[in-house]
Symmetry: C2
Subunit: 206 residues, 2 copies
């Protein structure tokens, strides 16, 4: 993977075989640098240090590599929300942990997240539909936590679907502005954002 | 401008001559559809209904057309913040109006905003520097309103620069998710977002 410097070592770690991992890492770099449409499969193969047709050994097309990347990104970010720790009896604290982890994820994986969010128009319709199904789960995750918090008397929201969308959106946009040279770590972004979110939904930070 | 359907009629209205206006509208559509790098000057000329070399009559390069578009977008959005109505003696109300207008702008001009935000990496360094100067004014605008609100005892913020960045970011990301087919008008998005922002900075909505 020498030629394909990636900011997402942990996220790609589980991908096997190593050649697929290297191609996905190279794809993220190429798509982030010049966009999906302007990247060729030769660019990706070269960046991974492989021969020109290497992408086709593992993926039917460049769009399939983008889809694999997009699915990986969405599933990893969803896991962060769905597996957030915290007591179900304390939804305000639980949503605080969810948002801290979700915002930090978008800072840490900013290049992957940009590809996933801004190059998605290039996915074929059937793949886009599958990704949209995952996106609905993000929305449901935040909505149900808000509803639980409102029911428990811990939170208030003027409009649950709109507020849930705004919370997700706030965290996703971290990928646009964040760079590792910024004077905030992903964890510091997460801490600030979860505090701002708690204020937004009428809770007081712990 | 027949071939170049644009969602930004008002924004482009002031651009003269009409051929430049048509090329900028066509550029926004092409860049939004397939990205800057994958768009040719011929694509843009064709979309505007002109002969293949038409872009070069008005712009030295495709990057200069992107720069003109990016500057137009940034200046228009900045104007919305800087010229927000409202009493200087009532910073909480003023920032409410600023955020409502800024979020609505990003819904209304979502295709232009996406080009401006996500294709900016293609700008030459000197142009990027000029755009960054404008971006700093967005940040200062919100920061100074927050500071005025805090000084007046109307608002609280855990971290003024971080909170200002989050408020701008929340509004900018509207361009990513908004589509005219959504069940919210730009004005409704503005109203919800200004309410969420006021909660975030410890004010109560009017």
């Amino acid at each position: 993977m020498s030629a394909a410097k990636s900011e997402e070592p942990t996220l790609l770690e589980g991908i096997e075989p190593a050649s697929v991992r290297a191609l996905m890492a190279a794809g993220i770099e190429c798509f982030a640098d010049k966009g999906f449409n302007a990247t060729t499969t030769r660019d990706i193969s070269a960046r991974a240090g492989f021969s020109p047709a290497a992408v086709y050994v593992h993926f039917p097309s460049k769009a399939d590599l983008l889809f694999a990347t997009s699915r990986l990104g969405h599933e990893s970010a969803l896991k962060v929300l769905e597996e957030a720790p915290g007591d179900e009896e304390d939804p305000a604290h639980r949503i605080e942990l969810m948002v801290a982890a979700f915002a930090a994820w978008h800072a840490r994986n900013n290049r992957l997240a940009r590809v996933v969010q801004y190059e998605g128009r290039a996915l074929p319709a059937k793949h886009r539909a599958e990704i949209n199904t995952v996106k609905e789960r993000f929305q449901r995750c935040i909505e149900s936590e808000l509803e639980a918090g409102i029911a428990a008397g811990q939170l208030t929201a003027p409009d649950v679907p709109g507020t849930a969308l705004a919370i997700l959106s706030l965290c996703i946009d971290v990928a646009r502005w964040y760079s590792p040279s910024r004077d905030r770590s992903p964890e510091q972004v997460g801490a600030l954002y979860s505090e701002l979110m708690l204020r937004m939904v009428g809770a007081t930070p712990a």
